[in-house]
């Protein structure tokens, strides 16, 4: 999901086969893929497969962790104790999802610290949606409805990814994710149905700001996406960007009606012929700007993560120091 724009390896990473044995191993690997079999951690796999998965899984993990920040901003300001409880549990889940994904990536031969280092030095990406600010409480509900909604749409196909540790992590994530979207929608419904005029205006304003960035979560149009035939075969990416985006628009158009909010697109209209909603053009310049590091919050988000990591260094070191002391004491005893 968070990886639609990021899961393609640069051409120079695809090394030519070297030996007959390599060719045989690769042929066997491809046969298993064609068979629909799962690949496990210790199985032989082409370098390109391994690298692509490390990149995709780790960037997915980074997205979960950075994604804790926009909603985390409102934990201390949640308007009721029930909403505070729900938001804490949701943001906590996102930490857990990042953790499952780092663990899955580690089975491919990288380490969590190495992956975090790539994130903190700007080498690894995370989903650009999290570079937008949360300016009101209604943003929290809208993130649950639209951002988690988009994530779920992208995530379900990944439960059938050929790399089994990733698929298993995705099964776990999807099971936990179901309340994330529901709680957001519920929050908006209460405000739109029973809230004050000020609250309704707050919700509409949040929708106006998050709608287009949510559509961008599905990545560039298929026509502009580099060839991802390989990713499709490997089960890393099973449905096209445009197909998922259309599915999302259709679902949200109906949900918006239930809420009584307007989606900020004058060209959004049901098309009988296509049996889908037509919608207006996406500002891909904005997308490129934000992905390229020039969105509203890019620098802040990364700086926050780097600070948390650096501030925690003494804690992590102390824990290891204590463990080492304990080990020596046990040996001496």
């Amino acid at each position: 999901m968070y990886t639609q724009a990021m899961d393609v390896a640069p051409a120079e990473e695809r090394k030519p086969l070297r030996t007959a044995e390599d060719a045989q191993l690769e042929a066997r690997f491809e046969a298993r893929i064609d068979d629909g079999s799962f690949i496990e951690a210790k199985d032989w796999m082409p370098d390109h497969y391994r690298k692509t998965l490390v990149r995709q899984i780790s960037q997915h993990a980074h997205s979960e962790i950075v994604g804790m920040l926009p909603e985390g901003n409102w934990l201390t300001r949640a308007p009721t104790l029930k909403r505070k409880t729900i938001l804490l549990a949701k943001v906590q889940d996102e930490a857990g999802h990042g953790l499952y994904l780092y663990a899955a990536a580690e089975t491919l031969g990288t380490s969590r610290d190495q992956m975090l280092h790539a994130l903190h030095t700007g080498k690894a990406k995370y989903s650009s949606i999290f570079n937008y600010p949360t300016l009101s409480w209604a943003d929290i509900g809208v993130i649950g409805w639209l951002v988690d909604g988009a994530a779920i749409m992208n995530q379900v196909p990944l439960t059938r990814c050929s790399y089994a540790p990733y698929a298993r992590a995705m099964v776990r994530i999807c099971r936990e994710e179901s309340f994330h979207q529901r709680q957001g929608f519920d929050s908006l419904l209460v405000m739109m149905r029973d809230g004050t005029e000020a609250q309704k205006a707050m919700v509409q304003d949040a929708v106006n700001r998050w709608w287009w960035p949510s559509l961008m979560m599905f990545g560039p149009p298929d026509a502009e996406s580099p060839n991802s035939g390989q990713s499709a075969r490997w089960g890393i990416k099973r449905v096209s960007n445009d197909t998922l985006r259309q599915k999302f628009v259709d679902a949200c158009a109906e949900q918006a009606q239930v809420l009584g909010v307007a989606l900020p697109d004058p060209l959004l209209k049901w098309n009988d012929e296509r049996a889908h909603h037509d919608f207006g053009p996406i500002d891909w310049d904005e997308f490129r700007r934000v992905v390229g590091g020039h969105g509203p919050c890019n620098k802040e988000r990364l700086a926050t993560r780097v600070k948390a990591w650096d501030d925690g260094a003494w804690v992590r070191e102390a824990a290891l120091a204590h463990a080492a002391k304990q080990a020596l004491r046990e040996k001496a005893a």
């Binding site: 962790i65 201390t76 505070k84 953790l99 780092y102 004050t196 948390a308 003494w314």
Partner: protein, 279 residues
């Protein structure tokens, strides 16, 4: 007569505070409720900023436990009080002078507050441990409260506080007996927190009413077990015990530190800004 468009109505004022005038019984319950609530509020600051992902999750679990305890106690206090205030009215519309938490939980944790810089992870695990040890002692007694609802809450909460005590006690040891830096930070954290622990065991008229009525123990009754638990962990953590000073904090009397105003301003802002709002 021609219809004239009315001038837009002036916005409703921000939500006024509710007034409690708590009886001793209600104040006794609110002391525990508010301590749990404010500590949970501080712990929530760590979500997304923990030193390690796994511990980030652990801190949030403790916040959720305490928030649950606070909600149950606030709801009960609202019933005991007779005005019928809800948990949310009590949390979001009380003025500072009617909050009765221990001052200890107001002190900065991760974020700076007022003129003080933020605390660190050592402050956090130490406070978690000192508080959990206190609550454990309290819940252990409250299980036999003459107030059935309070006893029921205590039964569940006791399990939670026992886990918090173990998890955070282990961290105090790990950091106290870890690296030179962690030991120095833990010593500093202990020095900051210690003067505020006296309030945990200073009884007053409210405690006397509670003890006399079988509602719950006076705070002074909790000292011995707490000191034993804490001394054991401080020993393993290679931290020297600190002497008591004449200072006693007064949060339980409704007189707070400078940090409380900032906490409430942040926590209560939406309810104050949207009178009649539905969430």
């Amino acid at each position: 007569m021609t219809a004239t468009s009315a001038a837009p109505a002036a916005p409703a004022t921000t939500s006024e505070s509710i007034r409690l005038n708590a009886t001793p019984r209600v104040q006794y319950v609110l002391r525990i409720a508010d301590t749990c609530l404010i500590h949970a509020q501080r712990l929530a600051e760590w979500c997304g900023h923990g030193p390690v992902l796994e511990e980030d999750i652990a801190l949030t679990n403790m916040a959720l436990d305490l928030l649950g305890q606070a909600r149950a106690l606030l709801t009960h206090a609202g019933q005991l009080d007779g005005h019928g205030f809800s948990e949310d009215q009590l949390a979001f519309l009380r003025d500072e002078g009617e909050f009765y938490n221990l001052t200890l939980v107001e002190l900065p944790l991760r974020k700076p507050s007022g003129h003080l810089p933020g605390g660190d992870f050592a402050d956090t695990v130490l406070r978690n441990f000192l508080l959990a040890s206190w609550l454990k002692g309290l819940w252990t007694q409250l299980v036999s409260s003459t107030d059935a609802e309070l006893a029921a809450i205590a039964g569940q909460a006791l399990k939670e506080s026992r886990y918090h005590q173990q998890h955070n006690g282990d961290w105090v040891v790990r950091l106290g007996d870890g690296s030179a830096e962690s030991a120095a930070r833990m010593r500093a954290a202990l020095e900051r927190a210690w003067p505020y622990t006296k309030e945990m065991f200073t009884s007053d008229a409210v405690d006397d009413v509670a003890a006399a009525g079988g509602l719950g123990p006076a705070r002074s009754a909790l000292r011995e077990d707490w000191q034993q638990d804490v001394a054991e962990v401080l020993l393993y953590a290679e931290l020297p015990p600190l002497a008591d000073t004449p200072f006693v904090s007064t949060g339980t009397l409704g007189r707070h530190s400078e940090h409380m105003g900032f906490i409430l301003a942040e926590m209560q802002v939406l309810q104050r800004t949207h009178p009649g709002g539905r969430w």
